[in-house]
Symmetry: C2
Subunit: 679 residues, 2 copies
C-alpha cells in the first residue's frame, strides 16, 4: 500500500467515543471544520453518532468508500480495531491513542505491529498527534489547522508538531503535509521522505527527530531527498543534558551528537537548533528561487540595522562586497548624493519606493541575492517601499528577502510583501542567515551525487600463528590495503633483530610485540635512536626483559622516521550509524582543543578532502606561515582506503593510527592499535 492513501483517502473512519469533549469527538469535529471532502464515518461500540456523521458499531459494518481509519479509542481496543480494518480492506491507520511503548506497554505495541503486518496495514503512531493533508482538506489532528502551503513537517514529538502548526498559521507559511508519528510502530521518515520528495505540493520538508532507528538507511533516504528538495532538521539532544532527556523521553539510545551532525551534513540536510530557525529557513525555501551564489547585497534606509545584517552575513559565510564601479556609477545617477554606495547601500531615511526599486534592480544584476531593510517611521509609507522591493525582485527573478521593522508600523507592508512572495524577517540578521543556508544547500547538492560504495567483506584478518593480530600483522595488512606504513621487520631473536635493524638501516626503532602489552611506550617498550649492531642487541635484550612473563612474541624494527607533521586517524562503530572515521591533529594541543573532523564511513575522496579542510589547523597542513605543505592528496587517499577497512573486515571494532607522519611527499603510519570484535 502506498503512503499516498494516508494523504488522499476517499473515506475516513474516526474510531472512538463521540461524547462531546472526548478525543474521538474532537477529532471528528476538526475533520469536519477543516472541510474534508471525502466520505466520513464514526465507529464505536454503541454506534453513537455525532455531528450528522453516520455511526457504526464496527469498521466491518461500514459500506462505501473507506481508505483510512483514525483511531482514538482506548489502547486495549486498538488491536481489535486494526483487525477489523484488515477484514474490511482498510490499509491505512493513524493511531492517536496512547498507552503503548511510551508507558512501558511494549506487549501492546508488539501486538499492534503484528496485526498490522498480518493484514498489510500501514500504521502511523501510536501515541501521535495525527496527520494533515491540506490538498484534500484533511486535518486528522487536534492541533491548529494551518493554511495550505508548500512546507511539509514530520515530527517525532507530537506536541512540538502542534506548536509548529500553530506557528505556521501565525507566520503565514502554509503546510502541505504534516505527520506526527509518535512511537513509530510502523511508518516514519524513512518512508515519508521519499513520498514527500515526489509530492508536487511540497517544496521543502522539515523534520524533528530525537533519534533514528537505522542510521544508514536514514542517511540514504535523507541524501536521496536532498538531491531533490531541501530538508531542514532539528535533532535534539545536542548536549549532555539534552541527551539524557531524550533518553528518558523516547526510551531510545541517542547516538553521539557529533555523528548525527556528520551524518546530516554528508546527506545534505540543514541542521538547525531552534524551531524559529527552522521556520525562517522553510520560509526562505518556500518563497524564494534558489540562491545560486554567495554574493549578497544589503539595501537599507537605516545605517545601524544594515551594519548588523552585514556583520551576520559575513560571519555566516556570505560575501558582502562593495558594488562594482559601473554599478556605483549607475546608482550615483539616480540616488541623492548623501546615499552611501557601499554594501550595505544606505538610502537613508529619505529613501523612496523608486530608490529601493532602482537600487535593487541595478545591483541584482551583479549579486546573487539581496536583503532590503526598512526601518519604518510613522510618517513613512512602508507599503510603497515594499512595492519597490517586490517590483525589483519580480524584475530580477533573484532571491530577495526583506526585514521591515517593526511591529504595528509595518503590519500592512509585511502583509503586502507576503502576498507578493517576499519573505520578511523580524531582523535582517535572520534574513541573511537564511540566504547563507540556502546558498550552502545549492552548493552541496552537486556533491550529493557521489555516494561511496559500501565494500563487501573480504574475509578474515590475517592473524599470526597464535591467532593474534599484533603490530606486525596490522602493519602488513594496512599496507596491503593502501594505508602506507614504513618498512619493518619482525624478529623473534636477537640475531634477527640485528639483521632487521641493518635491513631498515640505522638509526632504527625497536618495539616490543606482545598481546599483553598494549601501551608499549608506557612500559618502556619502544626504543628509538638505535645506531649500531651493539645498540640493537642491547635494545633487544631490554625488550626481552620487559616482555618477560608477558607472552613475548618478539620485536618489530623500523627505520627512525624523519621529523614530520603528525595527524591521527581513527575508526570506531557508532550504535546508530555504524563505522565512523575520524581525522585529528596529533599532539596534546589538538587533543585538548578537540581539533577533529568526523564522517560516517566510508568516505569519498571529496569528503576526505573536506575533512582535511575542516580541521582548524588546516593552514598548518597546507603550508601556512612558512611551514612546508604536507601531501594532502596522499592523506585524502589514505583516509578513503582507511574508511573502507571496517566494511572489508566486519570483526574490527576500532582502529587507531596514531601518529601518522605527513611528509611533503607521502605519509607513513607510525603506530597502530586494532580492537577486534569480542576482544
Amino acid at each position: 500500500m502506498s503512503v499516498h492513501r494516508f494523504f488522499n483517502p476517499r473515506g475516513v473512519a474516526v474510531v472512538g467515543s463521540m461524547s462531546e469533549g472526548k478525543l474521538g469527538y474532537e477529532l471528528l469535529r476538526q475533520i469536519i471544520l477543516g472541510g474534508y471532502r471525502g466520505r466520513l464515518y464514526v465507529v464505536n461500540p454503541k454506534a453513537q453518532g455525532a455531528l450528522d456523521v453516520p455511526a457504526f458499531s464496527a469498521i466491518d459494518n461500514i459500506e462505501g468508500e473507506l481508505d483510512l481509519a483514525v483511531i482514538a479509542s482506548p489502547a486495549p481496543t486498538v488491536a481489535e480495531t486494526l483487525r477489523a480494518c484488515g477484514r474490511r480492506g482498510v490499509q491505512a491507520a493513524v493511531v492517536i491513542s496512547s498507552g503503548f511503548g511510551e508507558v512501558g506497554n511494549h506487549a501492546g505495541e508488539e501486538e499492534l505491529k503484528q496485526v498490522a503486518s498480518q493484514y498489510g496495514i500501514r500504521v502511523i503512531g501510536p501515541n501521535c498527534a495525527g496527520i494533515v493533508s491540506t490538498s484534500c482538506n484533511l486535518y486528522a489532528t487536534l492541533e491548529v489547522r494551518p493554511p495550505a502551503g508548500k512546507m511539509a513537517f514530520i515530527s517525532q514529538s507530537g506536541a512540538l508538531g502542534g506548536a509548529v502548526l500553530a506557528w505556521a498559521e501565525e507566520q503565514g507559511v502554509g503546510i502541505s503535509k504534516f505527520v506526527s508519528y509518535g512511537n513509530r510502530a510502523d511508518l516514519d521518515e524513512l518512508e515519508l521522505l521519499p513520498y514527500l520528495a515526489e509530492d508536487p505540493e511540497t517544496r521543502v520538508a522539515a523534520l524533528y527527530i530525537e533519534s533514528v532507528a537505522d542510521g544508514r538507511r536514514f542517511m540514504e533516504v535523507v541524501r536521496e531527498f536532498c538531491r531533490r528538495k531541501p530538508l531542514v532538521v532539528i535533532k535534539s539532544g545536542r548536549t549532555a543534558s539534552g541527551q539524557r532527556a531524550a533518553l528518558s523521553h523516547t526510551g531510545s539510545l541517542a547516538g553521539a551528537d557529533a555523528v548525527y551532525d556528520a551524518a546530516l551534513k554528508s546527506s545534505g540536510a540543514i541542521r538547525v537548533d531552534t524551531v524559529e530557525d527552522m521556520f525562517d529557513l522553510c520560509k526562505g525555501f518556500v518563497f524564494l528561487p534558489p540562491v545560486t551564489g554567495k554574493k549578497v547585497v544589503i539595501v537599507t534606509n537605516s545605517g545601524g540595522p544594515g551594519i548588523l545584517a552585514a556583520d551576520r552575513a559575513e560571519s555566516t559565510g556570505l560575501e558582502v562586497k562593495a558594488p562594482s564601479p559601473e554599478a556605483r556609477q549607475r546608482l550615483a545617477e539616480v540616488l541623492p548624493p548623501f546615499c552611501a554606495l557601499g554594501n550595505p547601500v544606505d538610502l537613508t531615511v529619505q529613501g523612496t519606493e523608486e530608490h529601493f526599486r532602482q537600487t535593487l534592480e541595478t545591483l541584482l544584476e551583479e549579486y546573487d541575492a539581496a536583503l532590503a531593510i526598512n526601518v519604518a517611521t510613522p510618517y513613512l509609507d512602508s507599503v510603497a517601499l515594499a512595492r519597490g522591493v517586490c517590483d525589483a525582485a519580480q524584475h530580477s527573478r533573484k532571491p530577495v528577502t526583506a526585514s521591515f521593522m517593526a511591529g504595528t508600523l509595518v503590519a500592512s507592508s509585511v502583509a503586502y510583501l507576503r502576498q507578493r512572495g517576499i519573505p520578511d524577517f523580524a531582523v535582517g540578521e535572520r534574513a541573511v542567515t537564511v540566504l547563507a543556508h540556502m546558498a550552502a544547500y545549492e552548493a552541496r547538492r552537486a556533491v550529493l551525487q557521489s555516494v561511496p560504495e559500501i565494500p563487501q567483506p573480504a574475509g578474515a584478518l590475517p592473524l599470526n600463528e597464535q591467532g593474534e593480530f599484533l603490530e606486525p600483522q596490522a602493519m602488513s595488512w594496512l599496507n596491503a590495503h593502501g594505508v602506507p606504513v614504513p618498512p619493518f621487520h619482525f624478529a623473534g631473536d636477537e640475531a634477527a633483530a640485528v639483521e632487521g635493524c641493518r635491513a631498515v638501516s640505522y638509526p632504527a626503532v625497536m618495539k616490543v610485540v606482545s598481546p599483553q602489552i598494549i601501551h608499549k611506550s608506557e612500559v618502556g617498550g619502544v626504543i628509538v635512536g638505535i645506531s649500531s649492531d651493539e645498540e640493537a642487541r642491547e635494545a633487544f635484550r631490554r625488550l626481552e626483559t620487559i616482555g618477560r612473563g608477558k607472552q613475548l612474541r618478539g620485536v618489530v624494527v623500523y627505520p627512525q622516521l624523519p621529523k614530520a607533521q603528525e595527524v591521527l586517524l581513527g575508526c570506531s562503530r557508532d550504535p546508530q550509524f555504524g563505522p565512523v572515521v575520524v581525522l585529528g591533529m596529533g599532539g596534546i594541543y589538538t587533543e585538548i582543543l578537540k581539533d577533529i573532523s568526523l564522517r560516517v564511513a566510508p568516505v569519498t575522496r571529496e569528503e576526505a578532502l573536506a575533512m582535511i579542510r575542516e580541521l582548524k589547523a588546516y593552514p598548518i597542513l597546507s603550508g601556512a606561515r612558512g611551514q612546508s605543505p604536507c601531501d594532502l592528496d596522499a592523506l585524502a587517499e589514505t583516509i578513503v582506503n582507511f574508511s573502507r577497512l571496517p566494511f572489508l573486515y566486519p570483526e574490527i571494532q576500532e582502529i587507531d593510527l596514531n601518529p601518522v607522519f605527513l611528509f611533503q611527499k607521502g605519509l607513513l603510519v607510525a603506530d597502530v592499535r586494532v580492537i577486534r570484535g569480542g576482544s
Copy 2:
C-alpha cells in the same frame, strides 16, 4: 545644567515649520498626542501656530516656563536658534535637524558646538531621532510612542532607535527614557548613563553604538553603571564588512572589534548581536528578580521543546542537573507515574495547573531559576497553566520564565503571564539564554569593584650610550619592573663574551645586538648550545661577521633554558582604548588557531587569571593529561606588571615578549622586542 532638564522640562518649544506634514508640525502633534503635561510653544519666523499651541517668531519672545527647545528647522538656522536659547536662558536643546557632519557640513556642526559651549547649552543631536521621557509623557520624536516602563534605550542610530520603540510597544516592554543622540555634537552615553544609573524609573539600559569617542572614559562610565544596573550593548561592526559600513556611516574609526569585546566584558556590560537578543535580555531584567546562581530547572508539558531548551541551557553555561532524590520523592507523591522526573521535568500533555504549580514550587526550593514550557493544543486551558506558573513564581520569589507556544493558541495566556510579571519567550531556548546572561551579570558585579589603578609615568626608558633601547636594556628594564628575565651578560668583545658564557655557565646562548637587526634568528644572529670557551669564541666571531656594517653593539649571552611551556605576551595601543595587553599560547598552532585573550590595560590580578583561564589551551597550562602544571600565579603577576609598562613609559608603542618560558616554578622571558613612539 543637569541632564535632568531634558527628561523633566517644565516647558518645551518646538522650533520649525508648522505646515501640516512638516517635521516641526509632526513633532508637535506627537508631543500633544503623547499627553505632555508641561507648557508648549511653537517657534518659526512667521509665528505660524498649530494645534492650538501659541506661536512665536523667536525663542527670545516666549514668556512662561521653558526648559527645552526641540529644533527641527533647517540646518542653516540652527545656530541662530541656539543663540536665542542662550539669550532666553534655555539650557537644553534637542536638534532633530540633519545636514551637519553626516553630510560633510563639519563647519556647521562646529558652529553649533561653539554656540552651545558659549551659552552653556547642552545639546542632543544634531541629526537625531529625538528623546522620550515617559515619566512626564514627553515624546519629542517622530517614532512610535511606546508604553511607560523600566527599560532605557540610548541609540547612536536614530532609525534603529525608532525600530526599538516600535518593538517595545509590540512586546509590552515599557520604556523609561529614550535618547537618539545622532552626531553627538555634545551629549552622549558618557553623561546619559550616569544619569540613568540614578534614575528610579530605569531598571535596565540598552545601548546601540557604532563607535566610541573616548574608550577609557567609556569603560569607566559603563563599569560604574554596571555596578548599579545591567547594561545591554549592541556594538555593530563586528566583522570586516560591518566595520567598513560603520566607517562610511558615521565617519568615525571603529576600533578593532576584539578590543571592544574585551572593554565591554571588563566593564560588566552584556554584549549581544541582535535587537531581538537585546529585547529578550531587557525583558528578563525588567521583570525578573536577580538570577543568583546557575542551577536551572525546566518544567514542560512536551518532551521535544524541553530537550531543545535543556540543550541550549547547557551550552550557555547553566547547570541542568536532575532534582535531588528528596525533591523527586515529593514530586512522585503529587504527579502521575508517567511524568519524567529528570531535568526537564516532563509533565506530558496531561500536565495540569496544579502540576505546574506544585512542581515549580517544590523545585524552586533547590534551583536558582526555572523555565516553564507549555505547548498548547486547542483543547487545553493555557490560561490555567499560566496561573499555576505565576503562582509558583510568586510563592518562591525566584526568577521564572515561560515559553508558551504558539501563536493565537496562547495569546490570552501570554497576556496573563505578562500581566503577572512573568516574561514569555517564543521558544524556550531564548528564555534560558536570558537566564544565563542574567546569572553571569550577577557573578560579574562583584568583580567590578576592583579597578586597576592607572600608573603615573615613571620617566624615560633607560637607553644605551647611543640612545637606543636594545635587548640588553629592555631585559634589565623588564626585570626591574617585575617581569622576570634570565641572567644575562652584554659583551662588546670576544673576551667579554667568553667571560659572560662562563658566568651564566654552559650550555649558553649568544645573540647579536644591533639596532639594525630586528629579526635576529632569521639572519643567524642567535647561536644556541654553546658548550665551551672555544665554541663561545667561535660564536662571537660568527655574530661579528653577521653584524658587520650594521652598527654592531656587541652580543648578549644567556644560559640555555630548560624545555618549558611557551606563551607570548604582547602589548599595543588601540586608537580608541589605548594600551591593550594580549596573552597567547606560543607556537604555530595557536597562532593559526588564534588562541589569545585580550584586555584593555592595566589589568588586575583577577583579570590576569581570567585571561589565562580563557585560553582554549588552558588545560595544558594547568596540567591536564599528564602535563606538569605551570606556575600560573607567577604568570598572572607578570601579566599585571607587564600591563603597567605602557603607562609607566608612554613612549612605548608595542612590546612583544615571545616566547615566555613557563616553568613549574616561575617563568622567564626568552626574547623581547620593543617599539618606541616615532621609531
